[in-house]
Amino acid sequence: MAGELLTNVSPHLHKKDETIARAMKDVLIALAPAAIWALVVFGFNVVLILAVSCIAAAIAEVVMRKIMGRKITLKDYSAMVTAVLFAFLLPPTTPLWVVAIGSFIAIAVFKELFGGLGKNVVNPAITARLLLWITPLSVYTTKFVRPFYWKDSGFFTPIATSFSKGVTTFQTLAGNSVDVVAAATPMSLLKSGRWGVDVITGPTPIGATWTNSAGRPTLGSLFLGLKSGCIGEVSVLLLLLGGLYLIWRGTIDWRIPTGIIGSFLLLNLIFWNQPLYNLFAGGLFLGAFFMATDWVTSPVTRRGKWIYAVGIGLTVFLIRLLHYRPEGVAIAIFMWNFGTLLIDRYIAQPKFGEVGVGVFNKLPILPEPAPAPAKKEA
């Protein structure tokens, strides 16, 4: 016999390729089409933002894990997934230094400070994005460009990062001004005008193919991805394809996107609130397939997943109905990340053959202070 034999406890087989790194790679593959499309629509700036986000995340991970004396786990690609998702939540005009700060915070604070992958309570990408939004830096993350704006200024022309208050015209680094549409995303159209008022005041977006006579994007253009918006939320079609790929690979649970999109659509149908426009306009698909399905911050039981998903759908609906926020989806997922803690603790999953179990686990309402280690015999 050659060398030592392994004597670990059963089972002695492990599912092929079922690793954290494989799953994270799957997510990156699933995000790739949307990223490439964003590049086509919004120009080379997208590449810079993605690159900076990934580099900042990698630095954050290495630095934090060194400080905290943990093993470097860049190889599991989880930091990269967070970095890409964070970039996806930004407008294509975001200055690179803002991207770097945000991405660094996402990993350093919302992932590593909590104890690393698996211990974080909230989705790092979403939380970092929301943090930017409530800080003065938010001014840098609210300007959107119209699709194919680069036709005028050149594909490789980066957008200048010089913002001055209130000015919404952008400079390319070469010095000529890029004509950028100020914040006329489909979502803002929806909010300020519903279907009635034409709110686009800037230059008419390119071509007539993707807007109707009132200047609003058609449903088809929303679905295919000819609209302004954050980098990652442009093409519903490509996000959907990526999401279906992840479900097929068993990396995400179909219940979560189904529950979110289903409940959201149903509510909008019931209240007849532009159901399809609402569905395709904002970041719902990105959130439902890629953010809410984050393993670490979603519930583990099937029952819990349904509650969580319908909860998110309902929350997004309410936010959009009552108080327009472009970050509605992010806020809803962030809130339900905390819901996950409660769901996992209190919602019971009956065991095989178990009858008469209520909906709730029999646990004290408040978590007990510190777990008292049971006494052990010497």
Partner: protein
Amino acid sequence: MSGKTGFKTFAGGIHPPYNKELASGKAIRACPIPPEVYIPLSQHIGAPNEALVAAGDRVELGQRIGSSDAFVSAPVHSSVAGTVKEVAEITGFTGAKVKCVVITPDADQPEFAKQQGKDLEAYSDEEIRAIAREAGLVGMGGAAFPTHVKLAPPKDKPVDTVIINACECEPFLTCDHRLMLERPADLVAGLKLLMKAVGARDGIIGIEANKMDAVEEMRKAASGADGIKVEVLDVKYPEGAEKMLIFALTGRKVPPGKLPSEVGCLVQNVGTAVALYEAAAWGKPLYERVVTVTGDGISEPGNLLVRIGTPIQALIDACGGFKGDLAKIVMGGPMTGWAQPDAKAPVVKGTSGVLALTADVVDVAEEHECVRCAKCVDVCPMFLQPNFIVQAVKREEWDKAEMWGALDCFECGCCSFTCPAYIPHVTYVRKAKADIGALKRK
């Protein structure tokens, strides 16, 4: 319930690589008798046996060498004719020391003298139980629970259905498959005896769909037998787990912490049913069994008829020895078996297989923090929350470990198989069971 393939199945579970083709085509052949056999005195779950022989004694083939007066126990018999060398503590397959009768076999081994002309129909239920006990029958799928105890369900819980667990859902193993192909009539006869013993009306032989040749053989053998039918099951692990099998075949659910008799069922393994037939028809005690010797680390995988007490090295030698970069020897199936530090442990009544796995097959990685992917929860056939059991055990919160299902876990290993964080849940579950048990006894 029906699975995607239309065959019967349960919810949850996994699809491991089966690798059955390594040994499924190999007919059962006898394993040579080793220079010494080490027969553990207690090979069942229950009260330990006392040795009935001492160093220097002569023993005959099939002679009883250990027994106990306790109800939940099964005697052991000598698997060879020979001389007792000593009664000593030997390291068993679980790694714990077990008391063994060490016997030096005679050079010439007799054939077992079969009793002739038994009328199987004439046995009463009482007699069948006595035969099972006398022959030292235990569950041969690995659990090794004394058979006669299972055949005496509580009076208020009549058993109407006896199920033969012929799923052999563990990857690699083929011993039950071979028994069905080679001795279908004996299996049906054994099933009839089991039905008689508990007064059951129905007998079901549940076979996974990857053994259609066995299905055919068994259907032929069972045609004309009253109340016996052969059912095909989905190929999924752990289809052969008692509760899952009962549910798949009858739709009945055994509640947590309860036995199959709660829902009027009795489940027995293929090997056990054949052994019961041998005991009833020939008066033969359980001193040998079929063991699958396989794995990509075995030169010539096969199915051996092995005398109890044979060290596994002898089995491996009989199959051409090791090959490749050996990483692990497992006694039992790859999902629930025991990894061995060497090839010395003796075969016992519950040994269904000996596997030699190379580094290519064995996939070990460092345990990562749980990433809450819920895959373990999805596959757990008991609908437990293995991730939270592990968490509770780490924090020593025993009441929570129990709430998440530590005591209901039957250690099938589906959770660890599918865990991307490579968490060894079963290790934690065993710790929980031991510690919760200790707390409860206090």
